[in-house]
Symmetry: C2
Subunit: 113 residues, 2 copies
């Protein structure tokens, strides 16, 4: 039986899956601005520190971030800043969808603000 979906797709999907969570996406963007320790990120995210730690571990396992211990804290930073280039395209998708919905609404005679 032929293997149709190659391991290559698994590897790529893992990275996209790691990015596919609002909190992790937020963290990625934050780390794009500057490195941060768990404590700081927890403050920004607003959920339990263990939750943030687990999100960071997902990002680390997928190879998207690196960590470095300095003093009493562990600082995380983005491994490949190019992942932020995705956002532009994603915004294009979102905009396209929004416009599509607007057109549908207008065709139905619904007035939008």
């Amino acid at each position: 039986m032929e293997q149709k979906i190659h391991p290559q797709y698994e590897a790529r999907a893992n990275i996209l899956k790691a990015m596919g969570h609002p909190t992790r996406l937020f963290i990625i963007e934050e780390l794009h601005k500057s490195e941060r320790c768990v404590n700081e990120l927890t403050e920004m995210v607003g959920s339990d520190v263990s939750t943030v730690s687990k999100h960071l571990s997902v990002l680390k396992n997928s190879g998207l971030v690196l960590d470095e211990k300095r003093g009493t804290s562990i600082y995380y930073r983005l491994c490949c800043p190019c992942v932020l280039d995705f956002i532009g395209c994603i915004e294009t998708v979102l905009k396209t969808n929004a416009e599509k919905q607007m057109n549908i609404a207008q065709c139905c005679g619904i007035k939008l603000k």
Copy 2:
């Protein structure tokens, strides 16, 4: 209580999540080459047609693909081909990780083929 993670991140994460599955990633790449109907994709993927249909519905709901009925078949095509630009960066991440692992192995005196 301040809302820390904005809806914007939810929307973006949804698109990344939709891409974060090996089969769906395969389908996206296939649709990048040319539009395809469910039948053709099912053949290529090698799993049940209902499974492929569900994956396509995920991609459609996230706005990544469009469908058009022609004759008895429904043809899917990529909405925003730019999503394929991600792959280059993802490969960079994967390559970086692979090299990191190789270095670790070499430091441990493990010989690689």
